[in-house]
Symmetry: C2
Subunit: 627 residues, 2 copies
Amino acid sequence: MARVRFLPFEVEIETLDGETVLHAAMRAGVHINASCGGAGVCNKCRVFVEEGRARGESLPEGGYKACTLVPETDLVVRVPVESHLDRRALLRAPKRRATAWLAAEARAREIPFEPSVKRHYLELPPPDLSDNLPDLRRLKRGLKEVLGQEPEVEWSLLSELPYRLRQENFRVTVTLYDHPERSAPVVQRVHPGKATESLAVAVDVGTTTLCAELVDLSSGEVLAETSDYNPQISYGEDVISRIEFARREGGLKTLAQKVRERVAGLIEELGQKTGRETEEIDLVVLSGNTVMTHLFLALEPRFLRETPYVPVAAFFPPVPARELGLPTAEGAVAEFSPCVASYVGGDIVSGVVATGFFEEDPLTLFIDIGTNGEIVVGNRDFLACAACSAGPAFEGGGIKHGMRATVGAIEAVHLDTETYEPMILTIGGRKPKGLCGSGIIALLSQLFLTGLIDRSGKFRRDLDHPRVREGRDGWEYVLVWAEDSATGEDIVFTEADIDNLIRAKGAMFAGYQTLLESVGLSVEAVERVILAGNFGSYLDLEQAITIGLLPDLPRDRFFFVGNSSLLGARLMALSRQMREKAAEVARMMTHFELSAHPGYMDYYMSALFLPHTNIELFPSVKEKLED
Amino acid sequence: MARVRFLPFEVEIETLDGETVLHAAMRAGVHINASCGGAGVCNKCRVFVEEGRARGESLPEGGYKACTLVPETDLVVRVPVESHLDRRALLRAPKRRATAWLAAEARAREIPFEPSVKRHYLELPPPDLSDNLPDLRRLKRGLKEVLGQEPEVEWSLLSELPYRLRQENFRVTVTLYDHPERSAPVVQRVHPGKATESLAVAVDVGTTTLCAELVDLSSGEVLAETSDYNPQISYGEDVISRIEFARREGGLKTLAQKVRERVAGLIEELGQKTGRETEEIDLVVLSGNTVMTHLFLALEPRFLRETPYVPVAAFFPPVPARELGLPTAEGAVAEFSPCVASYVGGDIVSGVVATGFFEEDPLTLFIDIGTNGEIVVGNRDFLACAACSAGPAFEGGGIKHGMRATVGAIEAVHLDTETYEPMILTIGGRKPKGLCGSGIIALLSQLFLTGLIDRSGKFRRDLDHPRVREGRDGWEYVLVWAEDSATGEDIVFTEADIDNLIRAKGAMFAGYQTLLESVGLSVEAVERVILAGNFGSYLDLEQAITIGLLPDLPRDRFFFVGNSSLLGARLMALSRQMREKAAEVARMMTHFELSAHPGYMDYYMSALFLPHTNIELFPSVKEKLED
């Protein structure tokens, strides 16, 4: 990791591994014009290396393309005037601080380590005439010596039992499962001889993305991880359209099958990555929102959507993993993180478990921004949750050139305050295709701060600038000209897009207010904000506060936690106490139906401004605007 | 029921419904010559009706065939001298008394009536916005109000749950099952609206015969019963040959499938007989010996036969009845009576439960005479059991003209003490085909009492009688001449047959002695003998004592109990306490391996005489012989 100092601004930043100078500049708040998102084609991001060594593409007129330049040592880089053209680019940069990551991973090492599955190696005495107990009783007797109680054995194990016992002369490895609803452990499998230790798989079943980890249940170590899109996307991008698809003939079955197959594929992949057999996997813990869990289990989702929004179940009984088509050991079970309500799912419960704030003092606001922004507020004394119908805007849905956070998506934007020229970065450093969530928030924030839009989200009509124009869909800002875009057409951001975003962030903010009011608190009382979800980790805190998506609290109260749903699933796999805690969290969490709250609509209407009708709620934004 | 008085003997008997005079005479100990078993063809059983009215075939020379004659009123019947020719025929008759039936049926009305399955009709409040719990939770909440605890619901019920609940607007009938190894009841089925009460089926899975009863679990009433052969007979008549067959490729599967299919057929039949749907059946309780239970469940039986004789299981977990192909309600379970050891099975445990002697004071000897004679001794303080390798002789196996107790089998025999002419009765009154168990015992007893064989079972060599001759297989008695038999050949009883029978009864008697000695008791200490099994109920007590098969105890200590295995299965269906008692009995019962007892062989050798080497053990037989 090298340090890069940007001249003339005298701003320094530590670069990330393999990070380009352009990318580092964006993080440091240094504006460098860049139109192609880092694809190396617009040639606008010229910088000069004054000290140190770096590799990258040089430009014919001298200097390097910042989007290709990677430090080999500490660097001093000069940004020429034509590359930034923004005196004020750095005015606020020193105020920024990197948002802290919550040390949630550490929990995985602190929790009581006692998985709900366990393999026991037994050397049973072979039968003789003086001890000719039945095979099943011999097995139970041997297990009772170890466990202090007799386990339950289901009839399906009996047909193989005599062969399994005799194959290695009554030396066997028995996998036991601690069934959450039964008093005695259940024998999952009897394996001849000595078997390896158990593995588990934790899976986050996201509406968009599936993430899976292979966990060693003897050490607690994560052996490998992998992820892929949820293939249900082909049948609907959001939960509502999937619920609709499920109503078609065979639709539910198709959706279930697709996601199960893909998770099965991920599990195979984890095996291949580590050279471990899927036969070693005794447990799969899955965490997903209520709709995803219903679809995975092929449970009717339609009543989730129709008033009064009733799930088939919120606590799901364990399922034999092979019945779901998951490649695992014989008898392995799949467990699902418990849900709270139709729109507050097992992913949130899992996230709360992962962060552990339900066992701590500080009043915490836990936010998962997605299609349905879920929020939880509470501490060791109480937990309240709600779902905000934020809509898919923050995932690029309903936005003219919105897209998912894939290669070519603009994920960071900075506008020059004088020229209104953009600096953009794309995922993968390819030519831009559209805007993903973080890019959308950044652009909205920049348009607002540069004064290109007013507090109601309308463009300045008086400005004669080629990028601000009246297009086919009304007023818009041209972020990327056709010549620089991957699509061959202008990438624009319209007033309609802005309206959608304001409604979405308004729904979130009104959600915090309503939920907090429901428990007798105000936003200022929040001592900690935890931002969860994959999206959360890309979020630029300042920008999110600027547009009023997040409350304007001291920045050191904010923490990122990444994929807390996946981490929670892992914790549940590692510890049955965590599984019990998840159940406790789900039971303890009071769900508030926001739309039923009499004040909600007022809060919502007041939030339909940038950052808010009541600017006093956003003192730091007020200050920026007054600069 | 009419009374018949036989002249010149002045013996009276009450006839059974539809019973012929010949049959009644046999029961009354009145000898009437009869060679065709009651088929009405030998014309030897002439009697005259002196008073009263009767119908039957008359003979040309006057009088009626006793084998066709059925009383319409009380009768006085004279047996002419040519029809009995036995002055002594009745000498012992007045001493006889009908052996009592144990009032085991009454237990079915006395036991605590609480089946392990129960249907609950619930009217759940339909969800609304103020109460939008998940379907599963709503169901559990409703059940908790009724049960005081939450039941377990397996995941397989979830996919149908929302439709079942909504079909009759949240009015449902829930079937709950009290799983023997779980603390909470398990939901078996959720049925829309109000369903009928539960039915259960009790099945005795005999090696030869399958018997089934349909029981109403709300009233405890038996609605219908039926029986048929165990179709596994085609693959081996006894358990050993079936174990052998099971070793063939696909053999075990075939045996399991055959018996399951036949039991399924019997259940269908019970439904048809009563006009009830098999959908109403929530529970099937099966009781069979250890081998039969293994074969029914397709569990490897070979280790039952090989030393050290180890069953796969003796306590069997409940099995979803439909997985066994049994036509029942969705979710219905099949339970199996617990076994004790390889050759002391669930039928015996079930029998002990049915008779209830394990809860009473008198020292009781419980005997089930079959291929493997099982014996239990004990009372409320202890239970000890053993299996005697009696072999199949008492079921007609290994006997030259032995056969199962089916139509045409000679089931009763009396010999004239002077002429040695036989009086025989066949099942169904058809021409005789061979001898079944009770016929074999009767014939052996008669040959011995008439002096045709000596105490070692050898025929008198000095007698010039056409019926006692040296045949191809050595000395033999001709019971039926070819002209009177259904097979067209002589039906004979050989010294080899007698040897087999003596070994078989010797094994039983040595079994009682050894088992009683093992618990520090002698045969004389036995206060009650219960004779179980279908075979037991046909047994003639005097004859069985005469040959030394049963101990020579006061006759009022003997009780028949009929199919106690089936009755026990019914009790277990009616009461989970009875199911628990069966488990207690199986656990409490000490199993003795007779062959391992040092004294067994001596007892056995001493028992290889008629009735025994030590005649003092059989004082009543000694007295008869001295007559």
